[in-house]
Symmetry: C2
Subunit: 456 residues, 2 copies
Amino acid sequence: MNPLPSVPHLSPSPESLVPDENEMSRTHLIEVKDLSRHAEATVTVAGWVETVRIHGRVAFVVIRDGTGLLQCVVVKKEVDEATWEAATGVTQESTVELTGSVKPDDRAPGGNELLVSTLSVVGPAEEYPIQPKEHGVEFLMDHRHLWLRSSAQRAGLRVRSEVMQAVHDFYYDRGFTRIDTPILTGAIGESAGTLFSTDYFGDTAYLAQTGQLYVEAACPAFRKVYCFGPTFRAEKSKTRRHLTEFWMVEPEVAFADSDANMRLQEEFVSYLVERALERCAPELETLERDTSVLERIRPPFPRVSYTEAVERLQAKGSGIEWGRDLGGADETLLAEEHHLPLFVYNYPKEAKAFYMKENPDDPRTVLCNDLLAPEGYGEIIGGSQREDDLDRLLHRIREEDLPEEAYNWYLDLRRYGTFVHSGFGLGIERTVAWITGRPHVREMIPFPRLMNRLTP
Amino acid sequence: MNPLPSVPHLSPSPESLVPDENEMSRTHLIEVKDLSRHAEATVTVAGWVETVRIHGRVAFVVIRDGTGLLQCVVVKKEVDEATWEAATGVTQESTVELTGSVKPDDRAPGGNELLVSTLSVVGPAEEYPIQPKEHGVEFLMDHRHLWLRSSAQRAGLRVRSEVMQAVHDFYYDRGFTRIDTPILTGAIGESAGTLFSTDYFGDTAYLAQTGQLYVEAACPAFRKVYCFGPTFRAEKSKTRRHLTEFWMVEPEVAFADSDANMRLQEEFVSYLVERALERCAPELETLERDTSVLERIRPPFPRVSYTEAVERLQAKGSGIEWGRDLGGADETLLAEEHHLPLFVYNYPKEAKAFYMKENPDDPRTVLCNDLLAPEGYGEIIGGSQREDDLDRLLHRIREEDLPEEAYNWYLDLRRYGTFVHSGFGLGIERTVAWITGRPHVREMIPFPRLMNRLTP
């Protein structure tokens, strides 16, 4: 039988939002990021060995503890034999625990070194498969669980984490209600050909490609809502812009028209960029991102109608014809004229989804927009004002030969107090790829899912 | 061809986090929550009709605009005939737009009334199917897209939205990195019998029941991490505690042992309760929640070992025997002695998952805990210290007859710098059900998925 462990007498101070350091770690360990508060003191740290260099009777062990890098200096004559042997024999990525005194040093990463008194290897590592040499992408992807430890991967995913929090903060501060929309859905979606499906207790469920129809339903309850979760596309695409599973944020606002929708988008994108600049400077430096191009990202963003975009593209020699959706190459051609993201608005009806509102000034088109990121990153947002007229929406559902019965609840939103409303979807991985200047979305998500990749 | 819309000249002030009101709505509409700033002024509002009462030559139209309720007073002799007819003929849930002057009135919900000058019906509603009479649960669930508009549903989902933001804020403020783990996974999971599966380009993918193994892999990169997303259980359960799709937050901390893990849990749960109390007082009042029981929720929480829990249960007449997991009835029996959540720790190995660390003081048990909410709400957290010994983990995988090859990458975490680490999963819907005092988790998620429910 186990003795009851003693209950720690934490001071019950719920008003303090940020806890004392080490509250949730073993209490004797200090995090590297906090070392400056312990200058000249003796502390214990733990982490993983990045490099060991031995210069005669001094060993320099650089460790990573997940909060920062720390150079630990082991001087042979000042430590016992066990520590010297551990320091000089330890392998890359072994877990070590070190005690020593904190020496401020402006040249050191993080501003401190540790003058080691004891070092012990608590988790020895076998020969580490990822080496500074060039590995093929497939090899790195096969070792994604270890590749995460590399500096560029850490930096990119830290920016992702910051951007994701910024998404929530942006909508929270503006009074939006978060509405988590279902992944498992009945027969709805943009295109049945690109849906994953699963048996659902004898029925068939599809993995959602969007939460839009559901956030629309929540508008009459909460006015301004958003969802933010994983979405799925069973597309046989192998481009650097595609994942089969990616995260998308989808706001929806009652009484907002297409113009208000674009204004929300430019405020939102500018905010995400600003947060990354403000709080991820070290990560952007690690990634060698030219931040001057990001500092210019402020509203308003330029706007061009689809019709004018087609004329511009044709003048540049593109074979695009009015009526077709823009391809990736067209998007790049258009966006390269601008250092700001570019709105392309009011596409032809047949190029876009059934739920977009017919443009009263030109019924061949719908009130919608894409937002194209600069520097060749392509579409990061698709948005529209929604068709709020019951008959017109029903007509479009029939025109597209969609299962009317499955959309009956969605049609109810037009039967019981219809209203002008708009929304959009922003893809997180493409946005973070652009902000960090990385070429491929697959590095912008911890464990990417691609057509040919389901593991690890 | 469409003319280029004028680009609004918003002041580019990215440092201001909260925008001017109406930035993302049609600019002439004021939100009900902001009316106190417009006392005695003439404003236009829009919303959905909750009730209409006519007393002779005065009509009282209560609208809901998603930010609050507003009583709008229409006096026949002060409005034109169109407005009077619209006000007296409008149906429940019709969308209306009203202009009038704001009259502060302490008795009114929100502190103001609107003295109407014009009212127009912009979206008339057919006869609304949800009436104040008692509807059956299946009827309400079939109309979930409309049921969301009801006051109790709005209140519950507002608390959910606040708690979800509180989850992110808690970990963000503590330096955790958010790691989004994949939904589509290869052959891993707690129990193959309760997995949803889908064809994945000729392969089979399973919908994740947990992100734990992935957040463990991220620890050596970021030290403190968490994931927060939907998880899936194809369980044939019809209890009020089960959903087939629910949201779970799973923190994982390097160098944290089981004791530190429980301390993090009690801080976290207390924080969520505190945020709801602080920022959702009107919603908790709507739900008639006894908040005095929530105000007592502060660390430390009581702890009882599994072994002692079995003795207590047996003394109370339960048929439980040492070695079996606790059932829902056992959990309720144990928790009813406490007004705080109760930790039950160190369960028998065979009752828990393979990845939990063997208890060195009693190898029949593992270093883990459940957290039982008070008031009969049962388990809201399951957590453990993870097995960090390669050989012991491999032994457990073979003992449970799990596919060793599929876990090879997970075993790598023990080959390349193993480390003490712990984590847990908290189910959002159960937690919000407890905080709001609602009996069933199905109301705690916007569009619940149950064994017999995949729509709307």
